[in-house]
């Protein structure tokens, strides 16, 4: 299919519709509003449901309802809105509901600003809401992935019956790039009759709930969830490597930062510094083993984020006292580091 020059935020919606999304429930917030704009335009155009909810709290709960009815559904927001959604995300994880949530991150804390940050990492990757749960988190770094990873998010949500986040930043959301869209998918949802409540005789005995009154029962339920997360960690890790084979220093970051780091690697290589880029595409499951392996080979790993250092904690845990030293470079408030800035930082480390 011919390529489209399209904003990342809009690519999410076209990807979602091609993946068979039936419902979008949203609430406006910059810089995620274009996701809702596109949803408002395209969902009804092809006979599907768009509804602007009264709040972020309600929009995720509407997803809770639609997912329970056995259809693919999604919502989108940004930092402050995602904070509000955490109630519903915890319930959805507890009730094992497949829901896709796009988080187009902005600056925080509080109202912060509308510039790109990656400071939702902890609240999205570490759970955010109450309880022993995790969500799958996929992190696109280009327009094409805004489409492709949205589709993947729906597939993983269904496969594991769990909420899945598409974690992007304002930059990736606002950027236009060529995207090649797939053919519309025919999604067979009939297997969901096993658990969903579809308003028919077949599913009338199904129950969607997150309440388990007996401690042992709730523990069993939690253990089941942990087994699911272990399964996800076994099967679903995704990452990209760029010039890492002979690298002496690994640069790592996700989203827009990974794009800057890729150019940084090229610039450093021109200067004779053997740098490589490792980009986690899934943030949960986090590519722990891969980091551990790299940490035995290189002396330094530099983690760059648009935050105070959130993913870097996962890198440190993953390498578990291996040889490599972990460095961190972060910008906040909406400032994206330049390639020159990153080159300088790397040079400080390697020539240290």
């Amino acid at each position: 299919m011919a390529k489209e020059l399209i904003k990342g935020n809009e690519a999410i919606i076209k990807g979602a519709l091609l993946a068979g999304a039936e419902c979008f429930f949203g609430y406006p917030i910059t810089p995620a509003s274009e996701v809702a704009h596109a949803a408002a335009f395209y969902f009804p155009a092809i006979g599907r449901t768009f509804l602007q909810a009264e709040s972020e709290i309600a929009s995720i709960q509407m997803c809770y309802g639609a997912a329970s009815a056995g259809v693919r559904c999604m919502t989108a927001s940004s930092g402050p809105g995602v904070s509000l959604k955490q109630e519903g995300v915890s319930y959805s994880a507890g009730s094992e509901l497949p829901i896709v949530i796009a988080d187009i991150m902005r600056g925080g804390p509080g109202l912060g600003n509308i510039a790109p940050e990656q400071s939702d990492y902890n609240q999205v990757v570490k759970g955010g809401g109450h309880g022993n749960y995790k969500c799958i988190v996929v992190a696109p770094n280009c327009g094409q992935e805004m489409c492709d990873l949205t589709i993947l998010a729906f597939e993983l949500a269904d496969k594991y019956r769990t909420p899945v986040y598409l974690l992007a930043d304002g930059f990736i959301g606002q950027m236009m790039e060529p995207v090649e869209f797939p053919e519309p998918m025919t999604i067979d949802q009939s297997h969901k009759a096993e658990w969903a409540i579809m308003g028919n005789t077949e599913t009338v005995r199904n129950l969607i709930t997150s309440i388990y009154l007996e401690p042992e029962e709730l523990e069993d339920h939690n253990r089941k969830l942990q087994r699911k997360y272990a399964e996800i960690e076994k099967n679903e890790i995704r990452y990209e490597e760029y010039k890492t084979e002979d690298a002496e220093i690994i640069l790592t970051g996700y989203g827009i930062v990974s794009r800057v780091l890729k150019s940084t690697v090229d610039a450093l290589r021109k200067e004779g510094v053997k740098a490589g880029l490792f980009r986690p595409i899934t943030l949960f499951p986090f590519p722990k083993a891969k980091f551990a392996e790299m940490a035995e080979k290189v002396d330094n790993i530099l983690v760059a984020e648009l935050s105070n250092g959130q993913m870097v904690d996962d890198v440190r845990l993953a390498i578990d006292c291996a040889k490599a030293k972990v460095h961190f470079y972060g910008r906040m408030g909406g400032v994206v580091p330049t390639v020159a800035e990153m080159v300088e930082k790397v040079n400080e480390i390697v020539k240290g």
Partner: protein, 473 residues
């Protein structure tokens, strides 16, 4: 049709399989609880209306958190107060199902106040049973938004005071201020006559939904002998004496018969039509081309376009990116975003590259378009040596100072003005860029315009502007 035998209605599960413990036949409610009476009326209605199998009952948080133990329907347990939002999702996803939200006073009128208000205001075709017993039961007898003035609870131990907590909320009256609801009634369980009225209201509310007439809610004044600390029999009188005078029973809204039933339809749409409607089946001009015929210094440009908001800066960049894409090249476009947006200037950054684009951020452009003076002042220094600066002599009264870059001054705004609209200045720039750099051919940029300009009538004048821009350098 009157039945000869009254017994446990078919809307109940035969055995309460989800209920823990040995007792799978009786409710978890206290003796004399109003929930049990209402449950029976609902279960009977579901059976008699023949809709149990396609009904989804929503269990809230509160004493009725275990509604799902009892009803022979699809069941879903939800967060405190959110039932109307969940009901909305269920109903929108599957309009054929019958969705019943069963909520208590804390759930509906306190924490979920906005959720019920908005669902009612949207006229969601759902049925809500609102149990008002003026107290929080499950959490141990705390004050509810419907707790009566003077009523003592665990959190109003001196009695609810108007000064501290205000007056009890009258939900049906509140919702009656909205246009959308179809049916709103308040009933009570204080005696058999009123239970009969409640029975009728329950049926009517469900039928309202079956007939596609929209939002219905029945507020039921129900007894909570345990938390009121009276006997079950006394609790009936408690309703009569304390609740009924303030929460007046009666039909507050009934426009069911005035409405046409609405049944949303979900059309079957084929793949081709979906692609067309998503705008993915447009005829577009593509041409495989390498940059070898572009002068070397203009290849793989990193472009920054800057000017006032309203000068069409973003569209200018988008046109270049769209056109570049048509050759199979990699392109990226970013609007000014974040801190750079301050000060009323807009800019965008465009990469057009034969190879993959790493960072899409253009910190050091090879092409700078400066449409006003602040833009030139701000970005002149950042241009890469050997790069090129297009500047708008109509609005910039100085020449760029740089001597290591190519400098092209064009009165973009004046040309646009001559063409009849200052807003064409951006396309005059496009013309100048493609004439100077040979990066993009005229037929491609014209085709690209059709994609980036949504109003067809503006395409032709913009083409003229491009042509004028091309002849200006």
């Amino acid at each position: 049709m009157a039945k000869d035998i009254l017994r446990k209605p078919g809307g109940f599960m035969d055995t309460f399989v989800y209920k823990p413990g040995h007792d799978k036949k009786n409710t978890h409610y206290c003796p004399g609880c109003g929930h049990g009476i209402l449950h029976k009326l609902i279960a009977e209605a579901l059976e008699d209306l023949g809709v149990a199998d396609r009904t989804i009952m929503i269990s809230p948080v509160g004493c009725s958190v275990f509604v799902y133990y009892y009803f022979a329907t699809g069941n879903i347990q939800v967060a405190h107060g959110r039932a109307p939002a969940v009901a909305t999702g269920l109903k929108r996803a599957n309009p054929d199902s019958i969705v019943i939200s069963y909520q208590g006073d804390g759930d509906l009128a306190a924490i979920g106040g906005n959720n019920i208000l908005q669902a009612a205001n949207r006229g969601e075709n759902i049925t809500v049973f609102f149990v008002n017993n003026a107290i929080y039961g499950m959490t141990g007898g705390q004050m509810a938004p419907t707790t009566l003035v003077g009523q003592k609870t665990m959190t109003s131990p001196y009695g609810r005071s108007v000064e501290n907590e205000g007056h009890p909320i009258k939900i049906v009256e509140l919702l009656n201020a909205l246009e959308s609801p179809a049916y709103l009634e308040r009933t009570t369980l204080e005696d058999s006559k009123n239970i009969a009225k409640t029975r009728k209201a329950v049926r009517k509310a469900i039928q309202c939904q079956i007939d596609g007439k929209g939002f219905s809610l029945v507020e039921v004044l129900a007894m909570c002998p345990s938390q009121w600390r009276v006997s079950p029999v006394e609790s009936k009188k408690w309703i009569t004496d304390n609740m009924v005078p303030y929460f007046t029973p009666g039909v507050k809204r009934d426009v069911i018969d005035e409405r046409e039933g609405y049944y949303p339809e979900r059309p079957e749409i084929g793949s081709e039509t979906i692609l067309e409607l998503l705008g993915l089946r447009k005829e577009k001009l593509f041409r495989d081309r390498s940059m070898s015929d572009v002068p070397e210094k203009y290849r793989n440009p990193q472009i920054k376009v800057a000017g006032f908001g309203g000068q069409g800066v973003l569209l200018l960049g988008q046109t270049l990116a769209e056109a570049g894409m048509r050759y199979g090249w990699n392109v990226s476009w970013i609007p000014s975003y974040g801190p750079e947006m301050r000060g009323g200037t807009a800019n965008c950054q465009v990469n057009i590259s034969e190879g993959p684009i790493g960072s899409p951020v253009v910190d050091f452009p090879t092409i700078l378009v400066a449409l006003n003076k602040p833009s030139l002042d701000k970005f002149e220094e950042s241009v890469q040596p050997g790069g090129i600066i297009f500047y708008n002599t109509s609005m910039i009264d100085r020449k760029p100072a740089r001597t290591d870059v190519e400098v092209i001054g064009v009165p973009f705004s004046e040309i646009a003005d001559e063409l009849g609209n200052l807003r064409f200045a951006n396309m005059v720039v496009v013309g100048s860029i493609l004439a100077k750099t040979k990066l993009i051919e005229m037929d491609i940029v014209k085709d690209a315009l059709a994609e980036v300009i949504h109003h067809k009538k503006f395409i032709e004048p913009n083409i003229v502007a491009i042509e004028r821009g091309a002849s200006a350098v």
